[in-house]
């Protein structure tokens, strides 16, 4: 008796994708699987995810990622960010498809920007929260000071699809000053990108090909700042 036929969910590591997929479904045809017979949708055919699109071992000034490949459905960006000027580690806007040195979205008629909210809490900096709409970005990062540790992750869904109005993002961010100051903090947020702010007409927002950060100091050190950009969730 072939064990996997009678307990199909116990071990798939030895299967070979589509070829062996039906071992779990005796008497079934692959066309049924691909037409939603099992999962309600596409069959269980594996595709590698989290492909590294770009990385920087160290970048100076502000983050400036351009020409993002439009090859995956979703983006995940891990990064560290800091400035060399002050203990007051602050929030740094993240803007998409904008010009260098801008802290707001482009006025190119392609969109009105974001619609979202962020929440933050710091030991000395207290609580902060804001709803953001129009061209003021709600996606933020919690920048650090010099080599103080900080960690940021930003996800953008459907980033490469210019035909969809569905384009949400989320981020999570934290910074820590150790015992050098009391400006440790945590922040997170969620929102979406719209062509027509507050419009429910469903007008698609443009594909995202540039991610930039903004802060007033613009003097982050390449010794302490880095990023890794991944595509995930499947090829388009």
């Amino acid at each position: 008796m072939r064990q996997e036929r009678f307990s199909p969910s116990t071990n798939v590591s030895g299967w070979k994708g589509r070829q062996d997929y039906l071992k779990g479904y005796p008497g079934a045809a692959m066309s049924d699987a691909l037409n939603g017979g099992f999962a309600g949708g596409g069959g269980y055919e594996y595709e590698d995810s989290y492909h590294l699109l770009s990385r920087s071992g160290g970048y100076s000034g502000m983050m400036n990622i351009t020409n993002i490949p439009q090859t995956y459905r979703h983006l995940m960006l891990d990064f560290t960010m800091s400035q060399q000027s002050t203990y007051w580690a602050g929030t740094m806007p993240m803007v998409f498809n904008s010009a260098v040195g801008s802290q707001s979205f482009a006025t190119d008629g392609n969109w009105d920007g974001m619609h979202g909210r962020f929440w933050g809490k710091g030991w000395s900096t207290g609580n902060q929260a804001d709803n953001v709409s129009a061209r003021d970005p709600a996606a933020r990062s919690m920048g650090g000071y010099s080599n103080w540790p900080n960690s940021n992750t930003l996800w953008i869904y459907n980033y490469s699809d210019a035909s969809k109005s569905l384009k949400p993002y989320k981020f999570r961010s934290n910074t820590n000053s150790g015992n050098a100051s009391s400006y440790a903090g945590f922040m997170e947020g969620f929102g979406f990108l719209l062509k027509n702010n507050n419009s429910m007409g469903g007008t698609p927002s443009p594909a995202i090909n540039t991610i930039r950060s903004y802060n007033n100091y613009q003097n982050g050190s390449g010794s302490y700042q880095s990023f890794a950009l991944y595509g995930f969730g499947g090829l388009v």
């Binding site: 969910s9 594996y46 969620f190």
Partner: protein
């Protein structure tokens, strides 16, 4: 394509007619030998009504695993930030056979006014093929058309043969997941004030396996 321990794979995507306009989605016979299984859902929320009456509603998520009460019960714990409050509110409730949490506030009615009320959900479970006690973690975010209506949730659904019994091992692997949307006032959309909650245009759900050969 043998699944190795050092791979992350995506599979089982539901899109288009498999999810749009539907109130629930379900994955069955999910492979279980991953180190961690993720279930991703990104979408727009819609309240269907044919009565012409339109009022924003709380939008809830109901999940059940392994066919609901078949293997026991679930305890749901939920932490929430919502509607302009910077602070966390914590909720705990016991549910038999399913788990529920608030997703956010929906303000989109019918196909004619797509475009907003967008959300992201992620469910994840460690070692779904083991017989050890398991819990499914979730996080969800939703931003409504109205600026102040933002909700983030984090929580757990515990999979136990006996509800709230400590140290009880699960009797079953985790290979079935069903998620349904529910409005605050569900029912016949022909009746004013009653709404069907469904996935809107562009919604998408998929599975993600981290590692392989893990039991």
């Amino acid at each position: 394509m043998t699944l190795q321990q050092d791979r992350v794979v995506r599979f089982g995507e539901l899109a288009g007619g498999d999810i749009e306009g539907k109130a629930s989605i379900e994955f069955k016979n999910i492979p279980t030998d991953f180190c961690q299984l993720n279930i991703h859902i990104v979408g727009q929320a819609e309240l269907q009504t044919t009565s012409g009456y339109q009022s924003p509603n709380d939008f809830y998520v109901d999940v059940d695993f392994q066919g609901g009460g078949a293997i026991g019960s679930f305890v749901t714990a939920e932490s929430r930030m919502t509607q302009g409050n910077w602070y966390w509110k914590t909720y705990t409730n016991g549910q038999s056979g399913f788990g529920t949490h608030l997703l956010g506030i929906c303000n989109t009615f019918n196909v004619a006014n797509w475009g907003a009320d967008q959300f992201v959900m992620r469910y994840y479970i460690m070692e779904p093929g083991s017989t050890r006690s398991k819990s499914v973690q979730f996080e969800s975010q939703m931003q409504s058309t109205s600026a102040g209506w933002s909700t983030q949730n984090y929580g757990q659904h515990r999979l136990d043969p006996q509800m709230a019994t400590m140290n009880a091992a699960s009797k079953s692997v985790f290979d079935t997941f069903k998620l349904s949307l529910r409005s605050q006032y569900p029912g016949d959309p022909n009746i004013p004030g009653k709404y069907n909650a469904v996935f809107g245009a562009g919604s998408r759900a998929w599975l993600e396996g981290w590692g392989g050969g893990h039991t």
